[in-house]
C-alpha cells in the first residue's frame, strides 16, 4: 500500500495506520491530512496507532506536526491506541509527545474529541487546565 486512507465521519477525520510506514509515506500522510482538514472543514482528527509496533523519532515528529497543524486549522487531534511497549520505549527514547492528546482507544478518543470541540464552542464552559 502506498497511501494511508483517511475516513471522514461527521466532522471528524479518522486515520488508522495499519502498515509499517516508511518515512516518505509518513510525510505524505501528514500532507494529506493537512489538506483534508481544510477541504472537509473537519473539527477533529483521530489517529489510531494500535497496529504500530514502534514509534520512533520520525513518526513521533509526524504526530507532533499533525497535532500542531490541526491546531492552526482549528481542529483537535487525538492519538489513540498506543501499545504499552511503544509508550515505554518512547519515554526511554526521550520523545515527549507534547501537544498530542492521547486516549486509550477509539471510543475514548471520540469522546475526548467531542469534549474538546464542545469546550471550544462554548467559551463560558471552558475550564482552565
Amino acid at each position: 500500500m502506498d497511501q494511508i486512507p483517511i475516513l471522514k465521519i461527521g466532522d471528524c477525520l479518522l486515520v488508522s495506520i495499519q502498515v509499517d510506514m516508511h518515512d516518505r509515506l509518513a510525510l505524505q500522510l501528514q500532507d494529506d491530512l493537512t489538506n483534508k482538514i481544510v477541504t472537509s472543514r473537519a473539527r477533529g482528527v483521530m489517529i489510531d496507532i494500535s497496529a504500530l509496533e514502534i514509534v520512533d523519532s520520525f513518526i513521533g515528529r509526524m504526530l507532533n506536526n499533525i497535532a500542531a497543524m490541526s491546531k492552526v486549522l482549528d481542529a483537535v487531534t487525538v492519538v489513540v491506541g498506543m501499545r504499552p511497549a511503544v509508550a515505554i520505549t518512547l519515554v526511554e527514547l526521550g520523545l515527549a509527545l507534547t501537544g498530542v492528546r492521547t486516549a486509550l482507544n477509539v471510543d475514548k478518543g471520540l469522546e475526548l474529541i467531542r469534549h474538546l470541540i464542545d469546550d471550544e464552542q462554548d467559551p463560558d464552559d471552558r475550564r482552565e487546565e
Binding site: 509499517d20 510506514m21 516508511h22 518515512d23 516518505r24 509496533e53 514502534i54 514509534v55 520512533d56 523519532s57 520520525f58 513521533g60 515528529r61 501499545r83 504499552p84 511497549a85 511503544v86 515505554i88 520505549t89 526511554e92 527514547l93 526521550g94 520523545l95
Partner: protein, 134 residues
C-alpha cells in the same frame, strides 16, 4: 561472544529502514526478547538506519544473533562511507541536530541499548554498533 547468525541489508532508501526494522524484530524474537525489549532494539535500529541514509549517504546494516555464555542477544552494526561525525560527544547530546531533527536518534538509541559504540572521523565514514541482551 559467538555469532550464531549474521545477515546484511542495504540501507539506502527509506523502505530499507522498514526492512531493517523487520529483520531486527525476527532476530529479537528468536533470541527470546520480551515485547518491550523487542520494541526497544527495533526502535534503536530504526533511528540509526535513518541516520545512515540521511547523514551517511547510505550504507549497510549487519544484524547478528549472538550468544555470550548462556546469554542471547542481538548485535547491530551500521556502517556508511559518508562525511563522518566531527564531534561524537556533541552528536550524542539530546537535542543536537544538524538536520532539523529532534536530535534524539543517537542519544535515544544509546539509552535503548545495553552496548553502544560509535566509530567515526571526518572523511572516514561512520560505524555505529549496538547490542541488547535478553
Amino acid at each position: 561472544m559467538i555469532v550464531e547468525k549474521s545477515e546484511t541489508l542495504p540501507v539506502r532508501v527509506s523502505e530499507d529502514v522498514v526492512r531493517v526494522r523487520q529483520l531486527v524484530r525476527v532476530h529479537a524474537v528468536k533470541a527470546g526478547f520480551s515485547l518491550v525489549d523487542q520494541t526497544k532494539i527495533v526502535t534503536a535500529a530504526s533511528e540509526i538506519a535513518r541516520n545512515t541514509i540521511d547523514y551517511g549517504g547510505g550504507g549497510e546494516a549487519r544484524i547478528e544473533s549472538v550468544t555470550l555464555g548462556i546469554r542471547k542477544g542481538v548485535r547491530l552494526t551500521f556502517s556508511d562511507k559518508g562525511p563522518g561525525i566531527e564531534d561524537i560527544e556533541r552528536a550524542l547530546r539530546d537535542g543536537y541536530t544538524t538536520g532539523g531533527g529532534l536530535g534524539l536518534g543517537l542519544s535515544g538509541a544509546k539509552r535503548l541499548s545495553n552496548e553502544f559504540d560509535i566509530q567515526s572521523a571526518p572523511g572516514q565514514g561512520t560505524t555505529v554498533s549496538l547490542a541488547r541482551w535478553k
